[in-house]
Symmetry: C2
């Protein structure tokens, strides 16, 4: 199968590209989609909230979702990661049979397929490759989480910001003007690296002054990736 066919943007199955569902055959994919519910979330609307009982998993067709936890003491939120087209979210809570330990909110209009827990479970039970993929996925996420923990604990703010910009670049790529293809407000970026909005802004201004990045409103362009990598001490 050629890549252009496999990733045909207009077909239903395109949502399955590059994810754990690749281990399903076409029939299985169609069955799963036929049992799933297509949902459209407008900008800033919530897919699910911390503490709620999960009733299924979300397969993202298009858009970007932020996954975060809210500190019930201060009300401040901390963004754990972003999910985009092809990603599956909510499965952690479904599988460990706990209430959601995070909230998820669309940061731009987002289309998802909602797969009810029972259907998802059936596929795990009946398809060994599928469950293997799921183990692998959760282990990979676990590795990323561990890295994140260490970064927060050991790196300076400047280093963390450099690293997150590189991560955004790797994850979301560039638009036609070479700006990173994700639009976040300053508060959200601050909530990823675990700092105050003002502190983040100061660091971004510094990086701009040094000619390492460029800022145009909410859009960010990386001018000197090498330097950024050096700062993030990768």
């Amino acid at each position: 199968m050629k890549k252009s066919e496999k990733y045909n943007e207009t077909s239903f199955s395109s949502v399955f590209s590059e994810n754990i569902f690749n281990f399903l055959n076409e029939d299985q994919k169609n069955i799963m989609l036929s049992y799933s519910e297509k949902r459209i979330y407008s900008k800033y609307s919530a897919l699910y909230e911390e503490g709620a009982k999960p009733s299924g998993v979300f397969l993202i067709k298009s858009g970007i979702v932020k996954i975060f936890k809210t500190n019930n003491h201060t009300g401040k939120e901390h963004i754990i990661r972003f999910a985009k087209s092809g990603d599956i979210i909510g499965f952690r809570s479904v599988i460990s049979n706990e209430t959601f330990c995070t909230s998820a909110k669309a940061i731009e209009e987002t289309v998802v397929f909602f797969i009810p827990s029972s259907i998802f479970y059936d596929f795990i039970k009946e398809n060994h490759n599928f469950s293997m993929q799921l183990i692998t996925l959760s282990c990979k996420e676990l590795g990323e989480s561990n890295k994140f923990i260490t970064d927060l604990a050991l790196k300076s703010l400047r280093e963390r910001i450099a690293e997150i910009l590189i991560l955004f670049y790797n994850t979301f790529g560039l638009d036609e003007n070479n700006f990173i293809r994700i639009t976040l407000n300053r508060e959200d970026i601050a909530n990823v690296v675990g700092t105050a909005t003002e502190s983040l802004i100061r660091q971004l201004s510094d990086l701009k002054k040094e000619g390492i990045i460029d800022l145009k409103g909410k859009k960010i362009k990386i001018l000197d990736l090498k330097k950024l990598q050096k700062i993030s001490s990768i």
Copy 2:
């Protein structure tokens, strides 16, 4: 089966208590143990090092192991978690087929069963319940990691220390004198909550002055759990 039989300390199978191997029947447990290698690690010796290629997983029979990452820039280490009797470690890297992203070191004499990757894989393939347990386990760990990330990002040092003391209490319990049953040096505790040794010591001294904890050398006793919980803002 009565509890006293199930947790018989002298039997081989006692190491399987309360973990994912419970889904194996007695024959399967014996097979896995027969293919595994009993190893004894002395205090401070390494089970594995970050960057190495994993060749199997470690099932801990007795002792305590710290799992940490080292910042190759500053040389500082950050402890991600502790593993104790019944815990299985190293499976994340084995399953995602990556080099170890953490190091593991015994903080007291530790006995493990080392299970080679191939044997471990066979059990995943052939035992569906076992792989389901593994998914559940990694999802649970992922939930804990996410919590850890948020704590580091949003909580003050004092809150994090209160929380980690409660976690130690819940995980390791108390000895005959009501001290928490884990002996760590100050540096290790500091490396769990992500701070400098001196800062940790100051906070512990404060908690002692306030009558919330007691300190006897390396041993810690919780005197006022309620207050500690309030500080950790649970």
